[in-house]
């Protein structure tokens, strides 16, 4: 047991059976819908209050599912793009009525600065949503969704996914063996290191071709493509999935309909509008917050239910 934990050699699927969040036990279709909706909302409701709430909730979601480390890394990585958006918008765009200053003939307006900041915020939300996606939406689930649409492509992708750790392992062996012949990447000029890197990859390629073609022959021998393919993991569509999906779709439908009426979108050009929300704006904000915090609500619900059932017992 301990050996497995230390080196992380346990196959992923045996870890995957125990999901941490209730949300991760839902049908992949429901999870996928949730991620699509969160990204769509972050691009639809360009308003500081909406975006601020959304960012806080997705950060909270990542904290609940314990991906703090990846969260920080991703936010650091996207700083460059966020800075680019925040600087480029005011420089390129000189629409708007409130002028802050002019630099060398370029007019900087309040409107453009606000727009740039909102867009950077929106990008940050998308990035943080993908941190959660990468953790919760395993490749098994991804394949489950797409094997119906395109079975051959899914097979190809699945084989490739399996090959990656295998090839890295094989590559390490090759590096060790070739080091005795003086081919290594640890010292020398960049050119020399790149050259030896390619030599090593060449060995990997030839070696893997032979092994893989044998695998393919054994696949054919065992009847690959002789009938319809079955799936390794099954995801049932339960009543809970059905209700969740229905609520998500109906709620988001109302939100998108209101968005076409201009609710929840800050008027920026030509003049900056008021940040305050109308009554319908607050309603839509509530709905958006509910949809965003859907995984957290499920988690809290389960927690409360557990406490209650313990009290009774």
């Amino acid at each position: 047991m301990d050996v497995h934990r230390k080196y992380g050699t346990r196959p992923q699927r045996s870890n995957g059976l125990k999901s941490r969040l209730v949300f991760e036990q839902l049908n992949p279709w429901v999870m996928f819908t949730y991620y699509i909706l969160t990204i769509a909302f972050s691009m639809t409701f360009i308003h500081p209050i909406f975006l601020g709430c959304e960012l806080l909730i997705v950060i909270l979601l990542n904290v609940v599912s314990k991906n703090g480390k990846q969260l920080v890394a991703v936010l650091q990585g996207s700083l460059f793009m966020m800075a680019f958006i925040m600087i480029m918008n005011p420089i390129i765009n000189n629409h708007g009525t409130h002028i802050i200053m002019t630099i060398g003939g370029t007019i900087i307006t309040v409107e453009a600065v606000v727009y740039g900041a909102l867009m950077a915020l929106s990008l940050a939300i998308v990035m943080v949503v993908f941190v959660s996606y990468n953790k919760s939406f395993t490749s098994q689930k991804f394949m489950y969704l797409f094997s119906r649409i395109s079975p051959r492509l899914t097979l190809l992708t699945l084989i490739t996914i399996r090959f990656v750790p295998l090839f890295i392992q094989r590559f390490k062996n090759i590096v060790t063996i070739q080091a005795t012949r003086g081919i290594q990447m640890t010292s020398g000029s960049v050119k020399h290191r790149a050259k030896s890197g390619m030599r090593l990859l060449e060995v990997l390629l030839v070696n893997s071709f032979y092994n893989a073609l044998q695998t393919a022959d054994s696949m054919t021998a065992r009847g690959y493509a002789s009938g319809k393919r079955t799936s390794y993991e099954r995801y049932r569509f339960t009543l809970r999935d059905f209700v969740s999906l229905g609520l998500l779709l109906v709620g988001s439908g109302i939100c998108f309909y209101s968005a076409t009426k201009g609710v929840g979108r800050l008027a920026i050009y030509p003049t900056l509008g008021k940040v305050g929300l109308s009554a319908s704006g607050i309603g839509v904000l509530g709905l958006v917050i509910l949809i965003y915090s859907f995984p957290i609500i499920l988690e809290a619900w389960e927690w409360v239910w557990w406490k209650l059932s313990k009290l009774k017992g």
Partner: protein, 236 residues
Amino acid sequence: MKLKSIQAHGGLILAIIIMVVALASILVFKGDHYLAFSFACLIASMLPFYWDFEVNQLRAREIVFLAVLATVAAVARVPFAPLPSVQPTSFIIIVSALALGKDSGFIIGSTAAIVSNLFLGQGPWTPWQMFCWGMMGVTAGIIGKYKWSQNVKVLCVFGFAWGFIFGWIMDLWYALAYVQPLNMKTFIAAFVASAYFDLAHALSNVFFIALFYKSWYRIIMRFKQKYGLLDEAEIK
């Protein structure tokens, strides 16, 4: 007979329909929601290749052969991690496409993108990377039909150009979505911001093609002929 020809060209027909609808909707909405429609065009441009891959009855050997090339292209990012901006992924995609043709080139490129991102992290850039590397494979496969493509100097120019085209397409995804208004200034600024990385990518392509094109091409062709894989005349 008629059904068969619809099946064979279905991907292309569907792609053209989607593109026409998306472009028409840009006109109808007077330029609003251009992000969604340009994304639809991006997906539609990849559709015919995936369709062909689904329809052509490839054998297990051929699928595994493509998987090995896609994996090596994806894994190639790992040993080169200590050398910043130098990675032979593009080189491997170009060589494979030259040897195997445009359809296989597309599949290898786009699969390498999606799989390497499964390990390095998916993001909004994934479809754009799939498109870039896929199209790199397609163009390499197309020039591979001509004799002059065996000239290493020509290929170096080709690799150099793709280093920049790749970077420029990858700049689009965030410029399109988050900067307004869109004009040439936006794009030029985005291109300048990424120029250093694009140049490194372009130069490393040239380096790998100049030194390793011949040997890698020979290896792939040897396996292709020895095992009779992906013979275009046989598939069609």
